[in-house]
Structure formats: C-alpha cells, structure tokens
Amino acid sequence: MTAILRSPTTIVGVMIVAILAIGASASPNFLNASYLLQQLQISSFLGVVALGALGVIVLGQIDLSVPWTMTSSAIAATSVVGVGAAAQDVWSTELAMPIGLAVGAFIGLVNGIGVALLRVPAMIWTLGINAVVLGLCIFITGGFAPPGEASPLMRSLAVGRTLGLPNALYVWIGISLVAAFLLTRTYIGRAIVAIGNGERAAYLSGVATQGVVILVFVFAGLCSALGGLLLAGYANQAYQTMGDPYLLPVIAAIVIGGTSIQGGSGSVTGMLLGVVFVTLLTSVLSVLQMPDPHRQIIYGAVILITLLLYGRFTRPVN
C-alpha cells in the first residue's frame, strides 16, 4: 500500500489535482470541459514528442535535436504545400505529411548513426545535429519562413475533433499504446531496456545493440516530426522558433513521470501524467496572469519540488 502511495505516478497525480484546484479557484472556466479538452489537445503535441524522447532516455541517451527536428519537418511539410499550391499540383497536399515525417526520420537516422556507430556522446552529437539542421534551414530559406501552410490532414489532426474529442488526443493515445506495448511486450522493448542497463552485457547476449540504438533514434525523429507537424497544423504555419519551447518540457515531463534520466527503465503511463502535469502547470500560470519571469521561477520550483519529493519518498537510502 505504501509502495503505491509513494510511487511517482501517485505523486504526480496528486500534483495534477492540486493544480486543477488552484486553477479552478483562480478562474471559474478552468474546470470547464472544453477548456480541459483544449489543454489535452495542447498536451498531445508535447506528448507525441515526449514518447520518442522516452525511448532515447531509456537507452541512457538524450536527444537535444528535438527543437529543430520539429521545426524542419514542419517547414518541409508546409513548404511542400506552398510549392504545390503555386504549381497547382494536387498531390502536394497529400505528400506534405509523409515528407515531413521522412525529414524527421532522416534526422533521427543521422542521430542514431552518430551515437551508435561513431559513438559520440548523444548529448553533444544531437546538439551538433540540431545546429546543422538549424543552419540548413536558415541557409535554404534565407532566414524567413517559406511561403506555405499546413495541409488539410495536418490541420485536421491538430485541431479537428471526432466524437467530441480532439483528433490530436487520439493520435497521442494511439502512439502511446503502441509505445507501451513495444516497450513491455516485445523483443525490441526488452532490448532497449537491456541496453540502457548495460550495453556490453546486452551485446554479449547477442543483441544487435547498434541497430536497436539507431532504430530508437529514428522513432524519436519520427515522433518529433509528428509533433512539429501537429503544431504547424495547429498554427497553420511553420515558424523558426516553434520547436524551442519543447526541449526542456519534454525532459521535465519524462522525469516527472518517474523515468530516470540515467536510463534503464521507463514508464509510458507515468510520462502521460507528466505531460499533462507540465501542460497544466503552464496553463494555470497563464490563467493566474503571472508575468513571464515569475512563471519561469514557479515552473522551475515546482519541478524541483516534485523531484525532491521523489527523492524523499521513492528511493531507498543507500
């Protein structure tokens, strides 16, 4: 019983309830169903990106190329629509999403190759890739967002609703279920966890560790790209700084979900709550009309306190 009470999932659940209570006392509309659904819709963008990052973190690595993987995929997709519209090409709107996702997968592939084959620390390799992708985008676009807009599919996925629920939520839940299944019930998931706990032992057990690492980074690239495409669909455009606010909240959501940044274990359920928590925290601070600096301070302090609670309650004293 105490084990359940002290699990990260419980703690973050309690914190979510607390935030809802604060939000409700500040604004009567906070507990309104449509407002909460909108929060879930926004959470979905963060949640999709975080799913990919979760795999990388379970491996014991980190992906700092999230911002520009998102942005470049979105720019690619919206440009395809823009170019197609100019040339009156009917196919371009259909191609927008596959091309955007392919960009993300390719960046993930390069990330994976650097980490698995060249064995450069992921922190520094993905940082460099992020800089290169940023440089490429600026070089190609000349520093301005290229003309273009989101394809109908992107818009529908980002802002559309089915049976009263946001489509983005379905996308998020769907991919989460797939990720949770992969992580707990399949060979690849077991291999990821094993590598995160010790690559030498995994390799000597006959696991093709380099292939698994590359695969996980490709999945992360795909997830970041999808997040970027959804965000572009939401805003109906791509813009240079769209990915920047996602990097740190992604990491925060994962660790608040109870996953160790050192790798070797990971919880999809915990992360879902972590994503909701981070999104609600941001929104409650804006509902409270807190000035930006204060918002940052409270944001940081709440994350710190949550993690301190974990340290206090969940880990045995060694």
Binding site: I62, L64, G114, L117, L118, R119, V120, P121, M123, I124, W125, L127, G128, I129, N130, A131, V132, V133, L134, G135, L136, I138, F139, G142, G143, G198, E199, R200, Y203, L204, T209, L248, I251, A252, V255, S260, I261, Q262, D292, P293, H294, R295, Q296, I297, I298, Y299, G300, A301, I303, L304, L307, L308, Y310, G311, R315
Partner: protein, 335 residues
C-alpha cells in the same frame, strides 16, 4: 609478431609518442594554433593589437563558463543552469557594478557571491535532494532565468566604464588584459585546489564514485564544490560580459549552456567524467569562437554561418570516433 614479444611484462612506449590520454590535451591546442594562424593570415589587420584584443576578448566569457561547466562534467555531472547563472550575474552586474570604487568592489563581490550561491543550490539539490544533475539544473535554470528577467526585464543598465576599459584593452600596450584576467582567476582558484585532496576528489568521484568513497574521500563535499565552482565561474563570465557590453541582458543564457558543453568536450574532457584539463577546456572555448571569427572574415554568406558552425562542431566531436571505428575489440567501444 614473434610470440615471445607479448610477455606479461609491460610493453614500453616508443620514446616520442604521447602518453595515453595526452592527445586529449594536445589536440585542441594544436587545432587552436592552426586556426589562429589561419585567422591571422586572412585577418585584414594581420597580427596586430587591433586584431588580437578583440580575438582575446570575444572568448573570455565562454571560457569562464566552460571552465565552470568542466568542474561539474569532471564529476560526471552536467550543469544546464550555467547559462542562466551567467545571465543572472550579467543582469545583476548591470545594476550593481557602477558608482564609487567601493560600490563597484561591493558590486563585483556581490555578483560573484550570488553565482556561488546559485551553484551551492544546484549542488544541494544534487547531493541532498538526490536529483540527477541534468534534471536538477534544468529546473534551477528556469528559476535563475526568471530571476534574471526580474532584475533586468529588457537589456540595458549601467556598468563602470573605466573598469571596463581597463579589462577589455591591453596591458603594456599590447597584451590583451582579458587573457591575463582569465588565466589569473582560473589559476588563483584551481592551482591551489588541484594540489589538495579535495581538488583531486573531483576527478576521483567522476571516474569511479564508489571507489572514491571506499578510499575515504567525501563524494558529497566534492560534488558540492564542483557546483559552487561552476556558479563562481559562470558569475565571472557574467561580469566580464557586462564589462564587454557595458550592459546586462537576461536572455543570453541558453546558448552559453550549450556552447559550454561543446567547449568542454572539444577541450578534451569526457562527459563520462574523470578526464580533462582546464587548459584544454579554455582552448576549446577559444577554438569555437575562433571558428566563428574566421567565418566572418572568409566572406561566407551570413545565412550559411550557422550551418558551417554546426558542421564544424560535428567534425570536432567526430575526431574521437576514428578511434572507435578502427578499434578491433568491439567490447572496448561499448560502455
């Protein structure tokens, strides 16, 4: 190879080869020397006071921050708040470092003290809160950035010009004062420390914490020290940036965090901890900045610059990969 040559007796090194690990220090220094030569060759003014002082000044801030980052990295940690501490101290400097000499002195001390305090908070969260350094400093970084924005919502402020001139021009009319300042501060702090058990324990806990503990070292104290040093050097960076720009700006932080990590790695330190030198890290910082300067002078289109910088960073960190790819024992490259 004749069988008997592989006796269990130690194979001796050829006399001219570097001891293992020395390339980690030699490489950044050599590359920096080459880049420096290239810079002088293409610089319109060549090797002159007017070209050297800006070159020296432009990397001092990053060098300070990178040295701070290094102390955390060597203990196998990472400080993602270091840019925020820089921004906070830069913003504070623009408020405090002006007026009478006494006020200026108090201001400088106050800024440095705040830096140390930020570092101590990070260290406490890591040591006593038992939070992973990356995550702890991610959270505290948000707090410090917020504080910096409260101190200085928009860029501006006032910094003592006389002191600024003194630190950003030359000594004896030709030697950049900023370089002297950088080395003086780093060595006044690190040289004595590196000769104590506490200083050595920074490396020791990064290399193998449980072995260090079993040997009677105090990992908690060492880790706290590393974070305080990081805060101190970030504050030095923030101060110098204020002297350089004569103002404060709360939004400069994050790029410094990322570049400090890059400088530390390029400077030969290992993110796995236990390895690296302060000199290498300073060279790493200058290396990064020198590349940017060279690109300005080569007439590269401004739009291509970020791409080039990224590619150079990738190339720099891939150098170590050659060893990995050519390694004949696959187990050796796995952690």
């Amino acid at each position: 190879m004749v069988a008997t040559e592989i006796s269990p007796a130690r194979r001796s090194r050829p006399p001219l080869s570097l001891p293992p690990g020395a390339w980690r220090l030699a490489l950044p220094l050599v590359v920096l020397a080459v880049l420096f030569a290239v810079l002088i060759a293409i610089h319109p003014r060549g090797l002159a006071v007017a070209s050297m002082t800006p070159w020296a000044n432009q990397a001092v801030t990053l060098a300070f921050v990178a040295v701070g980052q290094f102390f955390v990295v060597v203990t196998r940690g990472l400080d993602l708040s270091i840019g925020a501490v820089l921004a906070l101290s830069n913003a504070l400097a623009s408020e405090l470092v002006s007026g009478t000499p006494v006020e200026i002195a108090v201001g400088v001390v106050a800024v440095l003290a705040v830096g140390c305090l930020c570092g101590a908070i990070n260290g406490a969260a890591v040591v006593f809160g038992r939070i992973q350094p990356i995550v702890a400093t991610l959270a505290t970084g948000a707090i410090y950035t917020g504080l910096a924005l409260i101190v200085r919502p928009t860029p501006g402020g006032d910094v003592d010009e006389a002191l600024s001139d003194m630190l950003t021009y030359e000594t004896f009319g030709f030697f950049p004062t900023s370089l002297i300042l950088l080395f003086a501060v780093v060595y006044l702090v690190w040289w004595p420390l590196s000769r104590t058990v506490l200083g050595r324990s920074l490396y020791a806990i990064g290399s193998n914490e449980s072995a260090a503990f079993m040997s009677g070292l105090n990992p908690k104290r060492a880790r706290l020290l590393a974070h305080v040093l990081a805060g101190f050097f970030a504050a030095c960076g923030g101060l110098f940036l204020a002297f350089q720009t004569l103002s404060g700006d709360a939004s400069v932080g994050f790029s410094y965090t990322l570049n400090s990590i890059a400088a530390v790695v390029i400077g030969g330190a290992s993110l796995a901890g236990g390895v690296g030198t302060v000199i290498g890290v300073i060279a790493g910082a200058y290396l990064l900045r020198t590349i940017s300067t060279i690109m300005i002078f080569t007439g590269l289109p401004p739009m291509a610059q970020p791409l080039f910088e990224g590619l150079v960073l990738l190339a720099a960190v891939s150098v170590g990969a050659i060893e990995m790819i050519t390694s004949r024992n696959k187990l050796k490259v796995l952690r």
